[in-house]
């Protein structure tokens, strides 16, 4: 453990050195789609030997979904890790981190041994912006947070599509919130920060005095404001695990969108992908997944949502249509399997050690979320974290990212004085921006004349779009470094198959007993528990190649092995081969995820050629 920490610190030191040594070609700012495209193409042009870029398809707006492939050497390498950014398009910082990771690998391959070695044995795929149409909202004016693509959707099911979008009522170029003074309103000014609106809790003696809407006009005059905005489908709500039919921005069904299908197809087309790292709100790196006891599901548990019963779809409760005996067995895995949990715990610990990140907000439970789907339905290891969250009010250490806070033990979850609630992040964000000299983190509440509310006090203001999930652009390059370091570490934990302890025993001049171990020298097992269930990730396949005059007296020439644990875990296999002394057999163990090992063995006492 101690050694691990030391190694990390060493690597950390190297990282900072290298940013100085090798330079940062990509400026520390947010990239529009066009800028990102040129940055990627520049990387491909300057590092053509190890980096290539391809499009997974074009979005409705004609933008390409880029995938960057990094690998040293020409042959297709088994063992791969995929990194995705922009899973929640509002977290565009994740897209920037992913891009910088690709750049870092490209810049340091051949210069830093660990990176060179990694790319010699492992392929890294990076899809920096999975939903580019949605992510572009960061650059559009008026500024608005939009996590959806542009698929036309009749959100309010009135037979008209996208007819009541938000509007920039005060023409300040920002889509903010809009509050109307009204004694019947459920909202109040947050007692700790007047820029934040809080829902009044009558049980705590609070009383509302405002109606609260997103900024806009009731364009279709149905007395609902902005209920059928332009677009679309949210990438991170469109995947099949715990998918919620008929819910907002989820799409007409699972994987209905160009973007989600392109990424899903990419993963199934690349069986070598053993782990996926994604920047998303469905964080399992600061707080690892925990196995939860299985509960019997009530009939209709999934039916209400139409999705397969997943985590968080509500439980128990009878329905009017149920009769006694209608309880259905719950066959779905809805929390991490017990055999996989320790790996998630260990990797989470490494994440906190390496990145020194802390005070993370509560992970978001997903519905139709990408990173959940990766584990629960594709069987790959899935790791996810937010690209950024507002640190607890300390001033930003401009000299070294989060180094300044390294002294405190990493605890993952925030240790707030008052229990965290849904406003904690907003409060922290505003404090942090203020402490660091950013003045426009909130739009000051300002009175406007609103056509829908004549003679009423209407104000527009509130927290500026995007600031809670995304750091200032000038800190991106610094903040991306610990993530890059962790991703390099993570890619090094993939399973790695080899052959060992080969033993040949002569039973007779023409009969030999061949015994060997199929070994996994990686950290992760050759398959996850969920992978074994869902059977998409292939187990290690073992082949014994015989020549025509040889035959087997015991054992199988071709067989699929059970998962082999990491750190030297092994499975012993034995054959009885009938063949001439001095003749050879070839043993090959391979899986796309764990790599390939081959050995040619001579039939004579003692073995080797």
């Amino acid at each position: 453990m101690r050694r691990m920490v030391e190694t990390c610190i060493t690597v950390l030191f190297m990282m900072f050195s290298c940013s100085v040594l090798y330079g940062q070609a990509i400026p520390s700012k947010y990239h529009t789609y066009d800028e990102m495209t040129s940055a990627i193409k520049n990387l491909a042009a300057s590092h053509g030997d190890i980096l290539k870029v391809e499009s997974l398809g074009k979005t409705l707006k004609g933008r390409d979904i880029w995938v960057i492939t990094l690998r040293k050497g020409v042959a297709e390498k088994p063992r791969a890790m995929l990194v995705t950014g922009g899973v929640d398009a509002v977290q565009i910082a994740g897209s920037e981190m992913a891009l910088r990771f690709a750049e870092h690998l490209a810049n340091t391959c051949g210069k830093i041994d660990s990176v060179t070695k990694l790319l010699q044995t492992t392929t890294i795929y990076v899809i920096p912006r999975v939903s580019p149409d949605a992510a572009e909202s960061y650059f559009e004016r008026p500024l608005r947070e939009r996590s959806t693509n542009f698929r036309a959707a009749d959100d309010d099911k009135d037979g008209t599509v996208d007819e009541d979008d938000v509007d920039d009522v005060n023409k300040d170029g920002v889509m903010s919130m809009m509050r109307v003074k009204d004694p019947r309103g459920e909202w109040m000014v947050h007692p700790e920060d007047a820029r934040i609106m809080k829902k009044a809790d009558p049980a705590k003696g609070e009383k509302g005095s405002y109606l609260l809407y997103t900024e806009g006009i009731d364009n279709d005059k149905d007395e609902h404001w902005n209920e059928d905005a332009i677009g679309g489908v949210d990438f991170n709500r469109n995947f099949p695990f715990n998918y919620q039919f008929f819910s907002a921005n989820a799409g007409v069904h699972q994987v209905s969108e160009i973007e989600t299908r392109a990424v899903a197809e990419f993963i199934f087309d690349h069986p070598s992908i053993g782990a996926v790292f994604s920047f998303s709100p469905n964080d399992n790196l600061t707080t690892p997944w925990k196995a939860e006891p299985r509960r019997p599901s009530a009939a209709g548990d999934a039916g209400a949502s139409g999705g397969f019963s997943g985590r968080g779809t509500g439980g128990g409760g009878g329905t009017p249509f149920m009769r006694p005996g209608d309880e259905a067995p719950n066959l779905a895995v809805t929390s991490v399997l017990e055999e996989d949990q320790p790996y998630y715990e260990y990797i989470s610990k490494q994440f906190l050690d390496i990145t020194k990140l802390k005070d993370a907000p509560e992970p978001k439970k997903g519905t139709g979320a990408f990173s959940d789907w990766i584990y629960y339905h594709t069987g790959r290891w899935s790791f996810s974290v937010r690209p950024w969250w507002p640190p607890v009010a300390a001033r930003r250490d401009t000299s070294g990212g989060d180094m300044a806070r390294r002294t405190r033990p990493p605890t993952g979850r925030a240790q707030a004085e008052t229990p965290a609630d849904e406003y904690t992040e907003q409060l922290r964000a505003l404090k942090w921006y203020e402490a660091n000299g950013y003045k426009d983190a909130a739009v000051r509440w300002t009175k406007v004349q609103h056509p829908d509310f004549p003679d009423r006090e209407v104000e527009i203001g509130g927290i500026r779009p995007f600031i809670i999930s995304n750091p200032p652009g000038d800190s991106l390059n610094t903040l991306a470094q610990p993530y890059a370091k962790f991703m390099i570490y993570l890619a090094g934990q993939l399973p790695n198959v080899s052959l060992g302890h080969t033993k040949v025993e002569k039973v007779n001049d023409n009969v030999y007993r061949l015994t060997l171990d199929v070994v996994n020298n990686g950290y992760l097992p050759t398959n996850s528990g969920l992978g074994v269930r869902v059977r998409w990730p292939r187990n290690v396949y073992l082949t014994l190649g015989l020549s025509k005059d040889q035959s087997l007296a015991s054992g199988r020439a071709r067989q699929s092995l059970r998962p082999i644990k990491g750190n030297g875990g092994y499975q012993t296999v034995s054959w009885l081969v009938v063949g001439k002394a001095g003749s050879t057999v070839t043993v090959t163990a391979e899986s796309p995820i764990a790599g390939k090992a081959t050995e040619t063995i001579t039939l004579r006492e003692g073995g080797r050629p």
Binding site: K157, A302, N330, R558
Partner: protein, 590 residues
Amino acid sequence: MKTTHSLAIKALFALVAVVCTVTAQAQSKKEMTESALKAMGAPNNPKVEVAWNRYYDCEQLAEIMHRIEKAYPNLAKVTSIGKSYKGKEMWLITVSNFSNGDADKKPGMYIDGNIHSNEIQGAEVALYTAWYVTEMYSSNDWIRRLLDEKTLYIVPTINPDARDYYIHQPNTASSPRAGLVPRDDDGDGEADEDRFDDLDKDGNITQMRIKDPNGRWVADPDDPRIMLPAKADQPGQYTLLGSEGLDNDGDGFVNEDGPGSYDPNRDWAWNWAPRYVQGGADHYPFVFPENRSVADFILTRTNIAAAQSFHNNGGMILRGPGAQTDLRTYSPIDIQTYDFLGRLGEEMLPGYKYMIIYKDLYTVYGGEIDWLYGARGIVTFSNELWTNFDYFRRQRGENENPRDRSTLYRFDKILLFEEGVVPWKKVSHPQYGEVEVGGFKKAWTRTAPSFMIEDMCHRNMAFTLFHLYHTPKVEVDSVSTKALPGGLTEVFAVITNTRVIPTHTLQDSRNKITRPDWVTLTGGNVISGSILQNRFLGIAQEQKHRPERLEIETIPGMGAVYVRWIVEGKGPFTVTVDSEKGGTYSLKSK
């Protein structure tokens, strides 16, 4: 390599066969003459000659569809809804009276067959429907009214790749079930590398047995084609070795990686489950291009209120839910509609039982008909064509073993004159040595024999036509006016649905799948509009927003909705009901 070679030859033969069939049909057309006495049912002298006593491959199905279109351009239109994995067109035939309104705005029914590759006869039933209604349109009033008011969307096969693979390649009656998207079933990194092998080259995959004094199987002394397990104290004669095939990939397993391993009917988005829960589920819902094309088509046709899928076999009229976890989706009020139609079907289809999939058959997650109802609110059935009942038109006795296949052999013997079974014959097997192959031919046991196909087609069609008939039919039953002070008029209208299916099933309306029905008043300035909740007590609920176009959640089957406006003006006023699934209708006040 060898397999590929024989495939190519088979394909060539198939092509020749198609050409011959088409030529034969063209010739037979001239020979047909109008009979002296028309039997009730099929048309006497159809414009489009089709023999309904055989099964057709994709090219032949398309050829018949195009002939129907050509003969009845005003009633039938053939288009493609997409391409299969192998690039075959997925042909849709839309049937309606095109000169009486937009077909896509009339209440519609979607019908398909053959989602499972080997379950071919659904295509013939579906196509018979298009053929029958177009041929009968001019002579049968009931059919004419149906096509004037409604639309049929028929895709005879939604699995064209594997339909042809089933027909033209050696197979059993049960293979393949999947389409032809390659999948690695045995985890060795190769897809579809250990298929069946037709050892005796007769186009059928039958069973293999080997003479073995230590085996535990014996030939039935009454019918030596039948293999029976030896009695506990009886010496055996044979060991059974499964379906015809070799261990092509040398892994010690025979036929373990044939085409597909997935189930196209576990690929639908509603209540989909991964394959460790639901065998046959694949990467994610609608991963297969064939199903995705169907879904995309249905999503664009919000007028579809009814749907039917055809499978084989067992004589069932199935409704969802496919899984117990989905019980809540099927509400009592919608089940009443299902029950009405299901029982009607039982009456029309002797030997068929109206059943609920999860309870009476087995559990299905991600089935087609659950998506049609769950995600789209469409009343949908799935029929399992061909049943044990049909052999001798009697129900199986309670004590009869459902797995006992002696009835099939008996039927084969006395009605098919032993055509349906390959007698045991010796072949040399490269791995097992001398074995015998024999057993049921692929076109037998799950598909009707020639002389029963037309009966199957007609009865199942009749069931679907009544289903279509009962899609909602909205009308403005009456518009009455009453003068109010100040130049105002109260307008009262009764909007009816004269069929059994509501304009929105509860699944539809509670999830707002299709838009509400719109009841619009024109001819005056509307001051207020309301929907009556109790017409006897006059209790009404105002619609504040756009009162001239009232939004009706649903118009119940055989039911009515009552609306009232206060209008400036004296009329006449026109009231129009516009329902996506129930059609449109206008009535003017006197």
